[in-house]
């Protein structure tokens, strides 16, 4: 099952019992964010669609990606697929890259059903609301932002589709956070050095894989749209040219497309905003965008996410898409690695399962992770377990730590390394220590004086697994 828009995905979620509708009128604050928090707290929590928000015309939906069941359905898998199964399926599809997108004509693209060029008012279309109570305003927390490289405007692969927080500052003006290490900042720097504005499109309410790819870290010259086709198992992404900018393409069936420009060399107060480490990032001077045109589907659905102390919806958008690229990098030089779980706070915490080829190999795998482009600044706590331990099963991981670790030799702290600035324990911001816990079983030449015989499952347990699962359906 491949989804080319948000609506077809919402329909399947509802059929699968993974979407609930709130028909009664709700208040923008605090109801929408509170429901996002509540749904995220539930095991396999549903998406929540509010049909009527007080004072607004159109509905809003939240927690669309907010459970492993919804994540599996996004991939077209059975909703009971385990996290490890989803990891390996995502890893398989990753290798299908690149899949050329299909460029639709304007009349074929549903995002062009309506257009607004005068008296632009975001509040007319989007049920905007405060997400966390100390946020500096109302934020778009789940937009896919499209920009090009001013130096190479015709280079499709350098076009960036990313997720950045966006603060509403007026009915037609928004702020955006472009951190220096983000791809969009590379493009903005080139435009600003010339004193020019940077053209930008903001796509809201996309098919679920486009949103997922927009929050996936890939190389600067890799195309998110070509990855969307790969992750959709070879079915091309459907895109359409922006109305204002010939070099930008947007998801063809998005609910709403905002088109405008980042104002060159302007910075104004932005924030605070409740961020993914579960705390607020403070106020900074950041960029502003002037919205010049909107196109939208008839009766648009506004999709936004709640983010709070993990886990909340945002964590599903930086879980397996953080894990798979790290796994691929490790696997190139260390084929013994079985799986990588980098789902904790965007890879600040990582669990790796590996076969150990020789003594000390577990620690060596951790060092390798800590020297990758993402692992170097982000990863801080690295746990390495044996190849038969499922790194996505935290009970098994804790078993490995409690029965395999001798702290005096298996725990190492490496001081004064790169760190993730948004991690509040990083001090100064951007510097940190690294912690390695080697929970693998010693192999030669490391001595293993108390070798054990592992317990194995009783014969026929697979059959019983099938029987019990069948009875639960």
């Amino acid at each position: 099952m491949v989804y080319h828009d948000l609506r077809s995905f919402l329909k399947v979620l509802e059929e699968e019992g993974q979407l609930v509708r709130i028909k009664e009128e709700v208040n923008p604050e605090p109801d929408i964010a509170a429901a996002g928090r509540a749904a995220a707290n539930m095991k396999n929590g549903p998406a929540v669609l509010f049909e009527k928000v007080r004072g607004y015309k159109y509905p809003v939906v939240t927690n669309v990606h907010g459970s492993w069941a919804n994540h599996a359905l996004m991939m077209g898998m059975d909703k009971t697929a385990s996290t490890k199964e989803q990891f390996h399926e995502l890893n398989r599809r990753w290798d299908l890259y690149p899949v050329e997108p299909k460029v639709l004509s304007r009349s074929e693209a549903k995002c062009k059903e309506n257009e607004i060029t005068e008296d632009i008012n975001l509040f007319d279309l989007l049920a905007l609301y405060r997400i966390n109570d100390q946020d500096g305003g109302f934020f778009l927390s789940k937009a896919s932002v499209i920009t090009g490289d001013p130096e190479f405007p015709d280079d499709f692969d350098k076009m960036n589709v990313g997720t950045y927080r966006i603060q509403i500052k007026d009915k037609d003006r928004v702020g955006i956070q472009a951190l220096a290490f983000h791809d969009i900042a590379v493009q903005l720097e080139k435009a600003e050095a010339e004193g020019k504005n940077l053209p930008i499109c903001i796509a809201l309410g996309n098919d679920p894989i486009t949103t997922f790819m927009a929050s996936t870290p890939i190389a600067y010259n890799q195309s998110e749209y070509k990855f969307v086709g790969a992750l959709n198992n070879g079915e091309p992404a459907e895109i359409v040219k922006s109305d204002l900018f010939d070099h930008l393409y947007v998801p063809a069936h998005a609910e709403v497309i905002l088109e405008g420009e980042i104002i060159s060399r302007l910075r104004t107060v932005e924030g605070p905003f409740g961020e993914f480490p579960g705390s607020y990032s403070g106020c900074r001077l950041q960029c502003e965008i002037q919205i010049k045109k909107i196109t939208h589907r008839t009766n648009p659905i506004f999709e936004n996410l709640y983010l709070g102390i993990p886990w909340t919806e945002i964590d599903y958008l930086m879980a397996l898409n953080t894990s798979v690229p790290l796994y691929k990098t490790l696997k190139e030089t260390m084929p013994e690695v079985q799986a990588v779980n980098a789902m904790y706070t965007h890879g600040i915490g990582v669990i790796i399962s590996t076969r150990c080829r020789y003594g000390g190999y577990g620690k060596a795998v951790a060092f390798r992770l800590l020297s990758t482009p993402h692992g170097m600044p982000y990863s801080k706590v690295v746990i390495v377990v044996d190849e038969f331990v499922d790194p996505f099963n935290l009970e098994q991981v804790m078993w490995a730590i409690t029965t395999r670790v001798k702290p005096s030799k298996d725990v190492a702290v490496i001081p004064n390394c790169p760190g993730m600035p948004l991690d509040p324990s990083s001090n100064p911001a951007g510097m940190h220590d690294k912690l390695i816990i080697d929970a693998t079983t010693p192999v030669p030449p490391e001595p293993n004086p108390r070798e054990t015989q592992l317990l194995t499952p009783p014969a026929g347990f697979e059959k019983w697994d099938e029987i019990i699962r069948g009875l639960l359906k």
């Binding site: 509040f123 109302f138 009915k171 472009a178 900042a185 060399r265 910075r267 107060v269 403070g282 106020c283």
Partner: protein
């Protein structure tokens, strides 16, 4: 009406509810804090702003030098 965060007195009404007259949204033209008329902003002391705090804020991303 003054800004609940920085006490500035230039406040713009940036939106009125599209359906019914049930709320308005205000935005400070100095610190860009915005709030809905149905909210009662209770800003923590650590997030209150003044000129000195705004002047000391980090600029993200830095503005590059202009090419000549």
């Amino acid at each position: 009406m003054n800004c609940p965060r920085c006490d500035h007195d230039v406040i713009k009404t940036i939106a009125k509810s599209p359906v019914g007259e049930v709320w308005e949204v205000y935005c400070c033209q100095k610190c860009w804090y915005s709030w809905r008329s149905t909210e009662t902003p209770r800003i923590l002391a650590k997030f209150l702003l003044d000129d000195a705090k705004i002047a000391a804020m980090q600029t993200i991303p830095p503005v590059p030098p202009l090419k000549k």
